[in-house]
């Protein structure tokens, strides 16, 4: 045995030492694993402290250690710490192995003898493995300074502006004709009651005019190739049928267009648009889009009214979809959310009872630029409601639909209640399970609503019906609810019901996640790298997430995430290079039989087949190090750096204490 191994057992205060007999483990490793090459074995109160690290560094120098095993917490916490300590003492950081005797041992077991025995086995496994570890160098790859932002809602807008203002190019891709997202549809924002459009549109204009932002609306990402620092993204620009270089956005085309279309996107089905349209007057960019599904010309072959009247000849009915490829170093996904479809709860009557509205529909009714000019009226377009019921948690906090809390509905419902009372003087009932007002100024807004005389009924609404039982209920919508504060069933007749539908992940979020190589939670929200400490990065290097695509949140939280993702990327761009973990597969070309089994297994297309030499080769920059090809190679020609067969097989031996004796000796428990 030529290796000189140092073993370090951490007490972690009493976290480990309270259950595991660390002195015993340390002594055992020093004696029983000596023939494996362990020359020194120590235990120390806090290995991760600077004194603990210095202890290791001193041993590396004085004892001429060639390998280090630290038994402490999870490698996800302190692997970097100990690798850096080794590096500081001149030992290649990948010759250090951190094994977990805290999360996997002392914290989960109560039997002290069994936990100590298990710690010995874990240390033995680490020692057996570290012998086969190799000195590795991180892969350095250059970072392309451009960034792709997907989604032009407030999170994407914020991210794009932050990066562009710092002097770097941003491609902002949006699938609708205009940026703005859901925020552009809202009337007021809680709790300040700022006009949503008034605070959003200046930012939209900034994006449209920014010299560093290439705005690609009415476009979708088709394909993503490459890896952090070097993504090649193919974007499909859908045909607008408008020559944007000639269009002035004068609006004559949509004024003259004879075809009215129900606007299900921006107006949430509450109003119409034309077949050639901009979604809303402040749209950015200002160019309209011809909706080729509804346009008379595309349906019947005649009309072309827009073309006749366009003063700059900007209409082009023959425009085709176009694909462009851009090179970017990093990507931000800010693809937003879908509204929960209230039709899924039939007892609430949405879609069946005319005067049951969703929250998005109500936003449009409230909005001065909306279909009713901001008049709060019933579906007939003229009658003002005298009583309004607002139902909270529609499709949220309900295990039949979505178990999570949608985070914004309480405040949004309070905002609605305020607006209804302010504009119509109607009586407003809020039906809530719990009122959740955790952010700055939110609780104060709730108190204000209580003082304004809005009624609050604590209980989940059972049913909204138009079947009257008493004359007072005739012609009304009756809300059947158990008032849990008085412990009684109540029937409350109202003129208008607003359903606070919750947020859902985009219907295609799983496809988008797959396209960009990131993961989704069970509810289809994108998963962040760490829920507390790394909320905008993903497990895929170079791909960041922001806004509601990550989970339900309000506007300030979306802005924060957009800015945070931008800051993370700016930091990466400034470094100019990124160090990738050298956990990669390599193919020994002398052993490769050219069977190509591995070629199809790789989801990153990292394995190339050389037709001339009839062998496969791994592109280390594309390889993510999963090791599936290593396990599949029938010739054993592929080896996985950092997780080689020798390392794993030896670790199995070590864990079973086969490295100590020739016969299998179970650890005494």
């Amino acid at each position: 045995m030529t290796e000189r191994i140092g073993v370090y057992i951490c007490h972690c205060g009493t976290n480990i030492a309270g259950v595991v007999n660390v002195a015993d483990v340390s002594k055992w490793a020093g004696e029983k694993l000596a023939d494996q090459g362990v020359v020194i074995s120590r235990d120390y109160k806090f290995m991760c402290s600077s004194l603990g690290q210095e202890l290791i560094q001193k041993d590396i120098k004085e004892q001429k250690l060639t390998r280090v095993v630290v038994a402490a917490c999870s490698p996800h916490l302190h692997e970097k710490t100990f690798r850096n300590a080794c590096k500081g003492a001149g030992l290649n950081p990948y010759l250090c192995e951190l094994v977990s005797i805290r999360e996997q041992d002392s914290w989960v077991h109560t039997d002290k003898a069994a936990a100590t025995a298990k710690a010995k086995a874990i240390v033995s496994g680490g020692v057996a493995r570290v012998i086969h570890q190799e000195a590795l160098e991180p892969l350095l790859v250059p970072i392309h300074p451009d960034t792709l932002v997907v989604g032009g809602g407030i999170a994407g807008i914020q991210a794009a502006l932050e990066i562009a203002d710092a002097g770097f190019r941003v491609y902002l891709v949006e699938r609708e004709p205009s940026i703005g997202g859901h925020m552009a549809q809202f009337d007021k924002t809680f709790p300040t009651l700022d006009c949503s459009a008034c605070i959003l549109t200046p930012k939209m204009v900034d994006v449209g005019n920014h010299p560093n932002i290439t705005l690609l609306t009415w476009s979708e990402v088709q394909k993503v190739d490459g890896y952090v620092g070097n993504f090649a993204v193919t974007i499909k620009k859908k045909p607008r049928y408008i020559k944007t270089e000639d269009c002035t956005g004068c609006g004559i085309c949509w004024e003259k267009c004879p075809k009215k279309v129900l606007d299900n996107v921006f107006e949430a089905g509450m109003g119409n648009r034309k077949a050639v349209y901009v979604p809303f007057p402040q749209a950015v960019p200002k160019y309209p889009v011809i909706d080729d599904v509804n346009c008379t010309y595309y349906l019947k072959g005649t009309c072309k009214a827009c073309e006749k009247f366009c003063p700059t000849n900007a209409i082009d009915f023959n425009q085709k979809a176009e694909e462009i490829t851009v090179q970017v170093g990093n990507i931000i996904l800010a693809t937003g959310y879908d509204l929960f479809d209230a039709r899924r709860i039939p007892q609430y009557g949405y879609g069946r009872l005319a005067n049951v509205f969703t929250n998005l529909e109500f936003e449009r009714i409230c909005n001065a630029a909306g279909p009713t000019g901001g008049n709060i009226v019933l579906r007939d377009g003229k009658t003002a409601p005298k009583t309004v019921g607002i139902v909270h948690c529609v499709g949220s906090r309900d295990k039949n639909y979505n178990a999570y809390c949608s985070a914004i509905c309480c405040m949004q419902s309070l905002k609605f209640a305020h607006l209804v009372r302010e504009r119509t003087g109607a009586e407003v009932y809020n039906f809530y399970i719990d009122i959740r007002t955790p952010s700055k100024g939110y609780e104060e807004f709730y108190q204000r609503l209580l003082e304004e005389g809005t009624r609050f009924v604590r209980g989940k609404v059972a049913e909204v019906t138009n079947v009257a039982r008493i004359p007072e209920e005739e012609g009304k919508l009756i809300i059947q609810v158990e008032d849990t504060l008085i412990g009684k069933q109540r029937r409350i007749p109202v003129d208008m019901v607003i359903l606070s539908s919750g947020m859902q992940a985009r219907h295609d979020s799983k496809d988008v996640a797959k396209l960009f190589g990131i993961s989704c939670s069970a509810d289809a929200w994108y998963i962040e790298r760490h829920p507390k400490l790394d909320p905008v990065a993903t497990m895929t290097d170079g791909v960041y997430i922001a806004g509601c695509a990550q989970g339900p949140k309000d506007i300030p939280a979306s802005v924060v995430q957009g800015a945070a993702a931008a800051a993370r990327i700016l930091g990466k761009i400034q470094q100019k290079e990124i160090a990738l973990e050298p956990v990669r597969a390599t193919i020994n070309q002398d052993q490769c039989s050219g069977c190509r089994i591995c070629n199809n297994l790789c989801p990153f297309n990292a394995i190339l087949f050389h037709e001339d030499k009839m062998v496969s080769e791994v592109n280390p920059a594309l390889c993510q190090g999963c090791g599936t090809c290593v396990a599949a190679c029938p010739a054993g020609a592929i080896s996985g750096t950092g997780f080689s067969n020798e390392q794993i097989l030896s670790q199995i031996d070590g864990l079973l204490l086969l490295n100590i004796s020739k016969t299998a000796v179970p650890v005494e428990q």
Binding site: S100, W107, V108, D111, K118, S519, I527, C626, T628, P666
Partner: protein
């Protein structure tokens, strides 16, 4: 306590992936959820890295059971490599049956990084199942393989 009355304590080797199930184990630890100390874990980058040799090596080396764990289908950090683990798991069960080893000694468990509680509970369940099976006794050369196992092979 004499040798006979001492309850059988199985030794189980568990393979975890770096992104989901190892983090589930970390989560179980952080939340101080208790489970049986019979399992010893090995971290791989992905359940797709699991070479069947690892499993057979563990059995050959004296493990009474082996746990394979990874991200839930659809949640794999490497897009779809856990499906490869799933297929290998089915193949390995058959090979084990041919070797005369009860298929209950090999378990596949999906656990997301948030599912520490599930991870701990499943380990406890598995330890009890293996305890019921008893120590792994390799069939001796020439020994007749019992019928239920043969049925499984031919099924």
């Amino acid at each position: 306590m004499t040798e006979e009355t001492k309850p059988f304590e199985p030794v189980i080797i568990g393979f975890t992936c770096n992104w989901c199930s190892y983090r589930a184990a970390d989560m179980a630890g952080t939340a101080r959820m208790k489970y049986a100390p019979n399992i010893r874990l090995i971290r791989l980058m992905c359940s797709g890295r699991l070479d069947p040799t690892f499993v057979f090596k563990a059995f050959a080396g004296g493990a009474d059971a082996v746990l394979i764990s990874g991200c839930h289908p659809g949640d794999c950090h490497y897009v779809e490599q856990n499906y490869k683990a799933m297929r290998r798991f089915q193949l390995m069960k058959r090979v084990l049956a041919q070797l005369g080893i009860e298929s209950g000694r090999l378990k596949l468990l999906w656990a997301s990084a948030a599912e520490g509680a599930i991870f701990a509970a499943e380990i406890n369940k598995f330890v009890e199942e293996v305890r019921a099976l008893g120590p792994l006794n390799w069939s001796q050369p020439g020994e007749q393989v019992s019928t239920p196992i043969m049925e499984e092979v031919t099924a």
